[in-house]
C-alpha cells in the first residue's frame, strides 16, 4: 500500500485531505503529482532542497547554542494548499484587523476615546510593557503605526480559522516564504504544472512601496536597520535589503543631525527619510530608551517624533499585540469599524482578572499559558504536555505577576501530511500571512506555513523545532484569453 493511501487523519482536521484517501478539491492536482513522484523521489528532492538552503546560507541562529549557529530552517516539500474562496475571506479579515489596530494605536496615544468609552480597561492598556509613554500625543505619517504585520492563524478540529496572535513589532519569516517558493519552483516543476498558484514574489516591491509612501519626498532614502550579523534574523534583513535594493545599515552607520537622519557613506552623509527597523523599541535610541544600547541611533526617537524620519513599524506598536489586549481585538474592530470581526479570536483568559485567573489555575492541565510580551515560543506552557512540576512553576508565576499571563484552551491544531522516516505522517501547522499598510494595504497570498516537526507537538516556532512549508493559494484553472493569438496557435500545435 502506498504512503498516500496509508496516511491517517487521526481525528484531526487535515489541510490536504477530507478523509483518508480523499483529497480536498484544491489539493487534488497537487496530491496526484506528488503521488506520481512517489515517496522516495520526494525524499531525494527534499535532500536537494536542504542542500540548496545551506548553500544559499538561508539559516538562522538559535539563541543559547554556542556551536549550533546557523542552522537551516527545516523545510517540508509538501505544500499547504488554501482554496481561493477561503483565502479571500481571510485576506479581508486580516485587512480589517490591521486597519482597526492602527486606529486603536492612533487613538490610545492621542484621544483615548476607546478607554473613555470603557470598551477595554484603561489600566490594562496603560500597564502594558509595549505602551510607550514617550509616544503620547504623537501622530506618525498617515496616522499609521504598524506598516508590517505578521498575524498568526490557526485552524482547530472543526475547521474554523482563528487569529492566534498579532505580531505588530518586528515580525520575521517572510524571507523563508519567498525562498521556499523559489526552491519549490526549481525542484518540483511537476507540482506547478498541475495547479495554478498565486505568485508571492511581489512582496519586496510592495514592501518598498509601502515604506516609500511614508515620506513626502519624491525619491525618499530608505534603509533597513539591522542589529547586525549576529542577530538570529540577519539572513532575512540582508535578503530584504537586497531584494528592495536599499542599504542595510547598522546603528553606527546612521546619525542624527538637526532632527534629520543621515547615513555615513564613502561620499559623505546621505539623507534618510524612511527606516525599516528590525531592532526592538528598547534598543532603538539610547537617549530615549535603554541607555546602554549600542545597536540604535542616538536621537532617533526625537527625530521620528518631530517628523524628521519615518520608522516602520513606529515605536509603541507593542501595546496592540500584548496578548492581554489581544483578547479585546473583536471589540476593538467593532468600536472603530462598526463591523464584526471576520476572523474570530481564540477564547482567551486574562490572568489579571481574578475570576478568569481562578479558572486558569484550576484548569492548567487543559490550557496553553503564554507570557503577554513574549514571542518565538518562549515563556509558554502547553498544559496537556506539561509535568506536574512545570504546572506548579507556572501557577506560582501567574500568581506573582498576573498581568504577564494569559491562557487559552489547547486547540487541536489542524495537520498536514509531512515527510518523515517511515513515509507520511500528520504534523500540526499554523499560518502567518504578512500584511503591509502604506498608501494602500496588501497581503501576501498565503504566507509562511510553520509546521511542528516533532510528533504530536503543537509548537511551530523555529526556535522550538519547527519547520516550514510552501503555502499555496490555488486559483481556479480557467481558460485564459491568449495575449497573442498567433503564438497561442503555435503553442497549441507544438504539443
Amino acid at each position: 500500500m502506498n504512503a498516500f493511501n496509508a496516511y491517517h487523519l487521526d481525528g484531526f482536521h487535515d489541510e490536504l485531505f477530507l478523509a483518508p484517501g480523499k483529497p480536498r478539491p484544491a489539493a487534488e492536482a497537487l496530491l496526484r503529482a506528488a503521488q506520481a513522484l512517489g515517496i522516495d523521489e520526494l525524499k531525494r528532492r527534499q535532500g536537494l532542497v536542504e542542500a540548496a538552503l545551506l548553500r544559499k546560507g538561508i539559516t538562522f541562529n538559535v539563541y543559547g547554542h554556542a556551536d549550533a549557529q546557523e542552522k537551516i530552517f527545516p523545510f517540508d516539500v509538501l505544500p499547504r494548499v488554501i482554496d481561493l474562496k477561503e483565502w479571500e475571506r481571510l485576506e479581508a479579515g486580516l485587512k480589517q484587523r490591521i486597519t482597526a489596530l492602527n486606529l486603536f494605536l492612533q487613538d490610545i496615544y492621542n484621544e483615548r476615546a476607546i478607554l473613555k468609552d470603557k470598551i477595554l480597561p484603561a489600566d490594562l492598556v496603560l500597564s502594558s510593557k509595549g505602551f510607550l509613554t514617550q509616544c503620547q500625543g504623537l501622530s506618525p505619517q498617515r496616522k499609521l503605526w504598524c506598516h508590517i504585520a505578521g498575524t498568526d492563524l490557526v485552524r482547530d478540529k472543526n475547521g474554523v480559522v482563528y487569529v492566534l496572535e498579532d505580531n505588530l513589532r518586528c515580525p520575521s519569516g517572510v524571507s523563508y516564504a519567498l525562498e521556499n517558493r523559489q526552491l519549490m519552483k526549481r525542484m518540483f516543476p511537476e507540482f506547478f504544472a498541475a495547479a495554478s498558484v498565486a505568485p508571492i514574489d511581489d512582496y519586496p516591491r510592495q514592501l518598498l512601496a509601502a515604506l516609500q509612501s511614508l515620506s513626502a519626498a519624491r525619491r525618499p532614502g530608505v534603509v533597513l536597520l539591522t542589529p547586525g550579523a549576529y542577530n538570529s534574523a540577519y539572513y532575512e534583513h540582508s535578503f530584504l535589503a537586497q531584494q528592495m535594493g536599499i542599504e542595510l545599515a547598522e546603528g553606527g552607520d546612521l546619525y542624527v543631525e538637526n532632527g534629520r537622519v543621515k547615513l555615513r557613506t564613502t561620499r559623505g552623509p546621505q539623507p534618510v527619510e524612511v527606516i525599516y527597523r528590525r531592532i526592538d523599541d528598547d534598543f532603538l535610541d539610547p537617549l530615549a530608551f535603554r541607555p546602554e544600547s549600542k545597536l540604535g541611533v542616538p536621537g532617533l526617537f526625537k527625530a521620528w517624533a518631530s517628523g524628521g524620519v519615518a520608522l516602520a513599524n513606529a515605536p509603541g506598536t507593542g501595546v496592540a499585540d500584548d496578548k492581554a489586549v489581544y483578547a479585546y481585538v473583536p471589540q476593538i474592530i467593532k468600536y472603530y469599524l462598526s463591523e464584526e470581526a471576520i476572523i474570530p479570536n481564540v477564547e482567551t483568559f486574562i490572568c489579571w482578572e481574578a475570576p478568569q485567573r481562578d479558572h486558569v489555575l484550576k484548569n492548567l492541565h487543559k490550557m496553553v499559558v503564554k507570557a503577554v510580551n513574549e514571542s518565538g515560543g518562549y515563556g509558554m506552557l502547553v498544559g496537556p504536555h506539561s509535568t506536574e512540576e512545570e504546572r506548579e512553576t507556572f501557577a506560582a508565576r501567574i500568581q506573582a505577576h498576573p498581568r504577564n499571563y494569559i491562557a487559552q484552551p489547547t486547540l487541536a491544531l489542524s495537520r498536514m501530511p509531512t515527510l518523515v522516516d517511515g513515509g507520511l505522517e500528520g504534523r500540526h501547522v499554523d499560518l502567518r500571512p504578512y500584511i503591509l499598510s502604506g498608501e494602500s494595504q496588501w497581503v501576501t497570498p498565503g504566507g509562511l506555513t510553520r509546521v511542528a516537526l516533532k510528533k504530536g507537538s503543537l509548537v511551530v516556532n523555529s526556535s522550538q523545532g519547527g519547520g516550514s512549508k510552501d503555502t499555496w493559494v490555488v486559483l481556479p484553472t480557467q481558460p485564459q484569453k491568449p495575449a497573442n493569438p498567433e503564438l497561442a496557435q503555435l503553442a497549441a500545435t507544438e504539443g
Partner: protein, 328 residues
C-alpha cells in the same frame, strides 16, 4: 556606499586572494616535493615562511615537517592565514554585504566555505586536500568572473579590486623573496630549475613565463613575477591596477593624488614601472624586496586610515547581548 560596506568588500577580496595564494603555494609544493630527494622539509619551511607564519609555527611544532605544515597551511583554524581561515574571513565579510553582491557570488563563497569545512573533517584521506585546493583556485576565477560581469563599476567594485590587487602584489613579492633566499647559491644543483619553475607556477605564471623567456633562469623568473609590465599577475601590474582602482574611488586624475593613500600607492607603482631587474640585483633581491614590503604595508595602512576608520563612529559592535531583538 557605507564605509563599513566598502571595508567589508575590500577585506572580502583580500582574504579570497590570500586563500588562493596559499592554496597555490601548498599545491605546487605538494607536487614539487615529490620530485625532490631530500630537502623536502626545507621546502615546506619556505612555504610557511612565505605566509609569514614561521615563528608561530615553530613555537607550536618545533621543527617544520611535511604533515604538520600541510595541516597548518590548509585547514588549521588557529592559523589566521590558513586557506580555511582566509575563506572563513572572506565569507564573514561577504555575509555582512550580501545585499551588495549578486546572489551567485555569495553562494559561491558560502559553498566554498562549507566544502572546505567538510574536507577538513575528512582528515587525511587521499585526494581530499588536492581537490579542496583546486576548488579554492577555481572559486577564485569563478568569483572574478561573477564580479567582473555583474558589479556596477562603483566604489564597491573599486574597493574589491583594490583589495585583491594589493593582496596579490603582497603575496607574489613574498613568494619571490622567500624562494629566492632558499635557492640562492644553489645554482647548478639538481632540481634548481624545477624549483624556479615551481615558483612561477605558484604565482600562476609558468605558461606565460615560458612563452616570453623560454628556459628557466632564476633571475628571469624573478623579473617576470616582479616587474613584467604585461603579465597581469606581476607585482608591477597589480600595483598599477590597484592604483587605478584607488584613484577611481575619489575620481583623482592620473598622475595626481588627493590623500596619503593615493600618494603612497602612486609613488610605489611608478617606482616599479621604472625599475629594471639590474637595479634590483644591484641592491640585492632580498634587501630590495624588504624595502618594497615595508612601503606596501604603509600603503595598506594608509588605505585603512583614509577610508575605513570613520572619524567619530561609535566603538565597533561586540556580538551584542541576545535579547535586543525579541524576534516575533
Amino acid at each position: 556606499m557605507l564605509s563599513r560596506t566598502a571595508g567589508a568588500l575590500y577585506w572580502m577580496s583580500r582574504y579570497l586572494e590570500r586563500s588562493e595564494s596559499v592554496a597555490r603555494l601548498v599545491d605546487v609544493n605538494l607536487s614539487l616535493s615529490m620530485d625532490l630527494s631530500g630537502g623536502e622539509d626545507e621546502a615546506w619551511a619556505a612555504v610557511v615562511a612565505t605566509t609569514g607564519d614561521l615563528e608561530p609555527f615553530l613555537k607550536r611544532h618545533g621543527a617544520v615537517r611535511r604533515g604538520p605544515a600541510l595541516a597548518f597551511l590548509a585547514f588549521d583554524p588557529e592559523n589566521p592565514n590558513s586557506v580555511a581561515s582566509c575563506v572563513h574571513l572572506a565569507r564573514e565579510n561577504a555575509r555582512t554585504v550580501r545585499e551588495h553582491l549578486p546572489s551567485e557570488a555569495w553562494e559561491a563563497i558560502n559553498a566554498l566555505y562549507l566544502n572546505l569545512r567538510q574536507a577538513a573533517s575528512l582528515g587525511d584521506s587521499p585526494g581530499t586536500l588536492e581537490a579542496a585546493l583546486e576548488e579554492v583556485r577555481l572559486a577564485g576565477r569563478q568569483l572574478d568572473g561573477l564580479l567582473a560581469t555583474t558589479l556596477v563599476r562603483d566604489e564597491g567594485w573599486q574597493f574589491s579590486q583594490l583589495g585583491q590587487h594589493l593582496e596579490r602584489a603582497d603575496q607574489t613579492s613574498r613568494l619571490v623573496d622567500v624562494q629566492h633566499a632558499l635557492l640562492e647559491g644553489r645554482g647548478g644543483e639538481s632540481g634548481h630549475e624545477l624549483r624556479w619553475e615551481a615558483v612561477a607556477k605558484s604565482a600562476g605564471a609558468l605558461t606565460m613565463y615560458r612563452r616570453r623567456h623560454g628556459g628557466t633562469d632564476g633571475q628571469k623568473v624573478a623579473e617576470f613575477l616582479l616587474l613584467d609590465g604585461a603579465f597581469p599577475r606581476s607585482v608591477s601590474f597589480c600595483l598599477r591596477t590597484a592604483e587605478e582602482a584607488l584613484r577611481a574611488i575619489n575620481g583623482t586624475p592620473p598622475g595626481m593624488f588627493s590623500n596619503a593613500a593615493e600618494k603612497g600607492l602612486g609613488r610605489l607603482a611608478a617606482d616599479l614601472r621604472y625599475t629594471e631587474i639590474a637595479d634590483v640585483l644591484e641592491e640585492g633581491i632580498h634587501s630590495w624586496l624588504d624595502r618594497f614590503q615595508q612601503r606596501l604595508n604603509a600603503v595598506g595602512d594608509s588605505v585603512l586610515k583614509e577610508y575605513f576608520e570613520p572619524p567619530a563612529a561609535p566603538e565597533p559592535d561586540q556580538p551584542p547581548a541576545y535579547e535586543h531583538a525579541n524576534q516575533q
